[in-house]
Amino acid sequence: MKSVLLVDDSAFVGTVLGDMLRELGIAVHVARDLWDLERWDGKPDLVLMDVVLQEAFGDDIASLFRVTRDWQAPVMLLSSLPDAELATRASEAGLDGFISKRIGFEAITERVRALLDAPSRRLPELGDVAFDVMARQRVRRVSHIAAHAEYWNAAGIIAELHALVGDAELIGETAIAELALAARVAVEAESAGPTRAVVAAIDVLARKLGVTTTHKTLLIVETGDYYRRSLLAPLDAADHLVLEARSLAEARQKLRAAHYDLILLDAEFERRDPSIRHEIDAHVPNAPIAVINDAEKTVEPARLVAQWERLMR
């Protein structure tokens, strides 16, 4: 079986493209950050590398790993940056080329299939992909950062909007891609703080996505992708912003990055990393904590959300 290492900080891209490639019989390992990447020591047949990652640029990382990890497989940049920039980055880093996210999931999947010479199969439908939930959460995060002067960071907002442009282009949501791009341009023009133009551009995007208000901010500390993702839709539907942490390092970073009304802590995570309690107490000493144990994971998420909302009052 051919295998692909997909490095992308967008959970949307990781989930959808990962599932589409698996449908073709290709094994896919998704890494969302350096932490994921450093823990994986497999030997893929192809690396798909996003460019704008949280900690460094994908072309710099790939170039380094060619030497330090002895990456032999072809590396293709996968990004919504302009083609000319991708061509330059791939060439300067000595990589094998690029695939633009602008061509959409189906065309990307076909390019990968052809590169790996994998057998052709019918592609899965995109019907149940929760693009809207992920997009709304991005806009909630952007609004949260912009609304808190103490956290205002143009780079953080630009990264979220850049990723949203890419996600929207991938599934042909051009109206959303254009609004996200317009908001990104407005933010890029500012560095001192969110001006009226920035707030207005973000508001237009929020309205288009149906985000009218955000009630509470939660942090989910949990390593299981599937369960964490299952909580996103009901929490988003109740107009809450959800930030996620999958490791102690990520939790430490996220705990500094916002005020939280509730911390959802996976009991298994705490068993493995008891110091998470200390981190939470140090950064958000007054936030309530709801520990999620195995029994609760079998409860309908919407019912849990109702319980958690009582804790956040």
Binding site: Q54, F57, L64, E150, N153, A155, G156
Partner: protein
């Protein structure tokens, strides 16, 4: 020029060191967290410390606090790496005399420029 690079991710440390090797005559010393950095600071006297903020055992702010309390390294300038969307507490940084902030994702040119500028300014 001697630079102490403090970062818990080995990949990030390698990327930072790779970028900084462009500076002629540079000597790089590495540490994986604040505790290890303080040990290195007992052995060497760097011109600049480049440190991540979020690290296990002792984070970036904790490291600078410990440095400012030590006579031998209290004046060494510090550049802090920060993550997008999570600005560090600027008031705390100012109180600890952080010389510059560099935001991730790191651009090799920006790292080199920040180190050169802080080195020249503090000489």
């Amino acid at each position: 020029m001697v630079i102490l690079v403090v970062e818990d991710s080995s990949t990030m440390r390698q990327l930072l060191c790779h970028a900084l090797r462009r500076i002629e005559g540079i000597v790089l010393v590495e540490a994986a967290d604040g505790v290890e950095a303080l040990q290195r600071l007992s052995e060497i006297r760097p011109d600049v410390v480049l440190t991540d903020l979020n690290m296990p055992n002792l984070d970036g702010f904790g490291l600078i606090e410990a440095m400012r309390a030590r006579e031998d390294v209290k004046t060494v300038p510090v550049i802090m790496l920060t993550t997008e969307g999570a600005l560090p507490d600027r008031a705390r940084g100012d109180a600890l005399d952080v010389a510059a902030y560099v935001t991730k994702p790191i651009k090799p040119d920006a790292i080199v420029a920040a180190v050169k500028q802080v080195y020249e300014t503090r000489r």
